[in-house]
Symmetry: C2
Subunit: 555 residues, 2 copies
Amino acid sequence: MTEAAPLQPPEAIRIVALGGLGAIGRNMTTFEYEGRLLLVDCGVLFPEDEQPGVDLILPDFAYLEDRWDDIDALVLTHGHEDHIGAVPYLLRSRSDIPIYGSRLTLALLEAKLREHRIKADLREVEAGHSAQAGPFEVEFFAVTHSIPDALAVAIRADGQLLVHTGDFKLDQLPLDGRVTDLPGLARLGDEGIDLLLVDSTNAEVPGYLASERDIASVLDRVFAGARGRVIVASFASHIHRVQQVLDAAASHGRRVAFVGRSMVRNMNVARDLGYLDVPGGMLVKSDALPDLPDDEAVLVCTGSQGEPMAVLSRIANRDHAIEIGPGDTIVLASSLIPGNENSVNRVINGLTRQGATVVHQGNAKVHVSGHASAGELLTFYNILRPKNVMPVHGEWRHLWANAALAKQTGVEDENIVIAENGSIIDLAHGAVKVVGKVPVGFIYVDGSSVGDITETELKDRRILGDEGFISVFVAVDVSRKKIVAGPEIHERGFARDDEIFSEIRPELAAAVEEALSQGVDQQQQLQQIVRRTVGRWVSRSHRRRPMIVPVVVEV
Amino acid sequence: MTEAAPLQPPEAIRIVALGGLGAIGRNMTTFEYEGRLLLVDCGVLFPEDEQPGVDLILPDFAYLEDRWDDIDALVLTHGHEDHIGAVPYLLRSRSDIPIYGSRLTLALLEAKLREHRIKADLREVEAGHSAQAGPFEVEFFAVTHSIPDALAVAIRADGQLLVHTGDFKLDQLPLDGRVTDLPGLARLGDEGIDLLLVDSTNAEVPGYLASERDIASVLDRVFAGARGRVIVASFASHIHRVQQVLDAAASHGRRVAFVGRSMVRNMNVARDLGYLDVPGGMLVKSDALPDLPDDEAVLVCTGSQGEPMAVLSRIANRDHAIEIGPGDTIVLASSLIPGNENSVNRVINGLTRQGATVVHQGNAKVHVSGHASAGELLTFYNILRPKNVMPVHGEWRHLWANAALAKQTGVEDENIVIAENGSIIDLAHGAVKVVGKVPVGFIYVDGSSVGDITETELKDRRILGDEGFISVFVAVDVSRKKIVAGPEIHERGFARDDEIFSEIRPELAAAVEEALSQGVDQQQQLQQIVRRTVGRWVSRSHRRRPMIVPVVVEV
C-alpha cells in the first residue's frame, strides 16, 4: 500500500472513492480541501456468489477514522440503496453529520433511518440551488434517472470546479417533465469544469436509451391482452414505472394492490409527497384481492430479481396464497441485475410451468435503464467539455468503456483517471494526479454483525459450501497414553451418513495412540495427525477435499 | 408418484425421458416397444448454484434397473457432453450396449471412454442410412449444429414413425456444406410423422440465426485491428469456430497454438478425421509462443465460460505465465451459458483491467447459436407436418415457447405433450397420451462418488456455505453427573475467532450439568440441550443461523 504524500492545503482538492469503483454499488466519494471533508453518497453493495451468506457490503469507513469532525456534509444524489443504504452505519460513528438531498431522497432516507431508530440532521435542497458546506460550495442540478428527484452536484473550492453526475441519463421526455438540466450543466462547461466524475454503468451499451414513456404502450398492449390477473414486479423505488402500471390499470378498468413491505412503504411516501398520482378508489388492500374478478385485478410487488423470500418467487414456487394459472400474466418490469440471472430464470420457469404468461425484458420492452448509454455519454461530454474525467460507478469494463468515450470526444489520455477504491487523486490548478492509495476493504454486514466477517470466513464458507466438512473428536489421557473417548467422526454435506467412517476409525485411533506412545502430547500436534490421517483417506477413497476439523482434548 | 399402467404390447410405443426436460442438459430418452428398449443420447448436466460442489449430474438410470438386457441400442445424435457425457457411467451397468453414432461423435466418445478405460461396442452410421436395432428401424438424417456430423433420428416400430431432432438448427450455408436434410425430413412428413421430439433451446429467440459463416468477417475485422496477440476462447468441440480462427490467422500471417487439454485433444481428433483443415506450418506448440512476435501469435483456448481453472481465467487473474496488456485482444467466441454470467463477467473485468481489448457476443457478432430459433422452428414444423409434438431439450420456459410455435403452425393442443423427466408417454395408433410417471432423480457425481450425494447433503452445503457452523464437544461422566471435558466450541465460516464463545461457555456447561443432575443421560437429549442453548444465544446475539453440530460423549 503506497502511503499518501502529505496533503498540502490549499494547493489541492483531494478525492478518494471509498466505494463505487470496480464494482457497481456502495457508491461513496470523499472530497477534501483545507483539511475539511465533503462526502457524496453513502450506499451499499449487494453481495455476489463469491460472498456467500453476506447481507450487505458497506464502504470502508476506516479512511474517516479520527476525522469524523472534519466532515462538513454528506450530499446524497438520489434515493437508491447503492447511494443511501450505508447512511445508518455511517451515522453510528457521528450522528449529526449534515445530510443534504432532494425531497424524495430525504423522505426515503428518513423511512430507513426510522427502522434503524436514528434521527439525523436532514437538509432539503432543490435543483438549481446551492449550499455552502465548510469550504465547499455545492450546487445542485436536476438529472433524470430511474427514481424521481435525482441530482448531479457541482462542487466549488480552491477556485476549482468539480462535477459529480451521480446516476443519470438523458431521458428527453421523462414522465415528470423534469429533464436533465443540460443548459445549466453547459454553463458549468463554459465556466470550465476541472474534473467530471461520470456514471459508467451503461458505457458499453451503444446508442441512446428509449424513454421511460415508451413503456406505456407496451404495458397497454399487455393489459389489453390479459385475460386473468396481471402481476407486475418492479423495484420498490421505481415510482415512475409504478405510475405507468397505475395508468394502464386505470385505462383497462382494473384496480391495484401493492404487495410487499418496501413497495407499500415507498408508494405511501411517494403518494404523500405528490410523486405518485393515484386515481381515487383505484387501490385495494392485498387481502381484498380475492374478492376482485381476475380480469379486474393488478398486483404490484417486488421480487423482480428472483429474491427467494419475495412474493413473486413464492408464487413461482407455489408457496404463496396467491395461486396462478393459465390466463394470468406476470410482468417483470425491471432490469435483470447481473448476478441474479439464475434466480430470475428459476422464477420465470416456475411461473411458466404453472401456465402463466411471463413478460420480461427478454421478450418485450417493459424496461428501460436509468443510466446513460454510450450515445448519451458522448452528448454529455460534448456539452460539459470537462478538462479532466474520472469514470465512476462501474466495474472495470464499464470504467474503461466510459474512458474510451471521453477520449473519443477529445479528452486526452493524461486527463482521464481510471482509479480504484482508495486511490488518492489530487486536483491542483486544474491538473489531476493519482498520488497514492489508502487501504479500502470490504465491510460485510451479516446478521447483526458489521465487519466481523472477513475474507477468511468467506473462504471457509466457500469450502464448506462446496465440500462439506468432517469433524473428529478425540479425548485422550496423556499420562496413560491412551484414548478415553472417540474418535467421534461426524460430517455434514459430505456423505449420506456417518457409516462410511467405520472404515477409517480404527486406523485413526491407531495413529493417535501410536503418537501418544511416542510421547507426542501437544494438542496441536495430535490434531495435525488426525487431520492428515483423515485427509489422506478421504482424498484416496473419495477424491474430495472436505474441510477437516479435528479437536483433541485432554481429559 | 403415479404408477404406470402395464404396457400392452404391441399396442403402443412408450417414451420416457430420463433427462433433458425442465433443464438444458443430461439428454436421454428411452423408446420402448414389445419390451425392447432403444436409448437416444446419454448426456450430463452441469450443476448450477443450487448444487454446490457437484461435478456432474447424470440421468437417473434407475428406470433401466433389471432391464439392462432389454436394451437393443444407444443412439447418439452428436458429440456434445450433454449428449454423450454420461455414457461411461451407463456402461458401468452393461458394457456391451451397441452404440450408434456418426464418425466424429464416436471418435469423441472413444477419446472419453479411453480416459475411463472402457472399451465399447461402437457402430458408425452415416446420414441417409438406416440401422435395425431389435424391433426399431432407425434412420439417420444430417442436421446442422455447433459441432459437425450431427444427426436427427427417425424411429419406426409398430407401424408408427417418430422423429427425434437431437440438437439442430437450419444453417443454410454451413462451413462444411452439410445442410440439415430438409428434403429427407419432408419425405418423412409425406409419410406421416406420428410424434416429433424437437429441440426447444432457442424457441424463445425470435427470427432466424445468422450463419456460422457470418462470423468470418467479424473475426477478420478483429484480427485486422489487433496490434498484439489474439487470444480466442471457445468450446473445445466447436470445430467450425476454430476452423474460422485458423482461416483468419492464415489470412493475417499469424500462427496458432492450441492451449488446454480438451482443446488439444479434440482438435487432434478433428484434424486426423479430416474435420479440421490446418494449413501446413500454421500450428505451434504453446511453449514456443514466447518466441513469436506478439502480432504473429494466436492462442486458441477453452475458458470461455469463466471456468476458474481454465487458462483464460488464470490469465485474467494474473495467475498464468501468459501476461497480457494493452494491445492484446481477447475474443470470447462462444455463447454465455446461463448460470456462468458472474464468472464470465469476472474474466472480462480482469482482462480489461490489464488493458486488453475484450471482444465478446455483447459487443460483436463473434458467436451464433447451434439451436434453431423461433423462425427456424416454424419452418421446420411446416416442412415436417407432425401429427404430435413433444418439445424436448429445454427449461420449462423453452418447452412452453416451443409448444406455442407448434400450435401456431396448426398442431392442436391435444397433440402437444409438455412432459417432465420420468413422464410415461404412450404413442398408440398415432395418438399420444401421458399415462403415468416413474420417479426420476438427480444423480450427482462428486469426486469419485456417483449418487452418494443427495438433496440432504446439498441442503447442508447451502447452509454451511451461507452461515458456517458451530461445533460443540462435551465429554460427560453420567454416573458422576458431571462434565469431564469441554464444552469445546469451534466454528468455521461464522466468526473471526473462537473467542466469542467465552460468553456462552459457562451458560452451556451449566445447562448440561443441570440436565445431568436431573438424570438426563441420553446422548440425543444432551445434544439437543446443547443445540438449543447455543442456537438461542447465536440467534439473540448475532441474528444468524449457523449450523450447530453438538457431540456429547460419555467417558
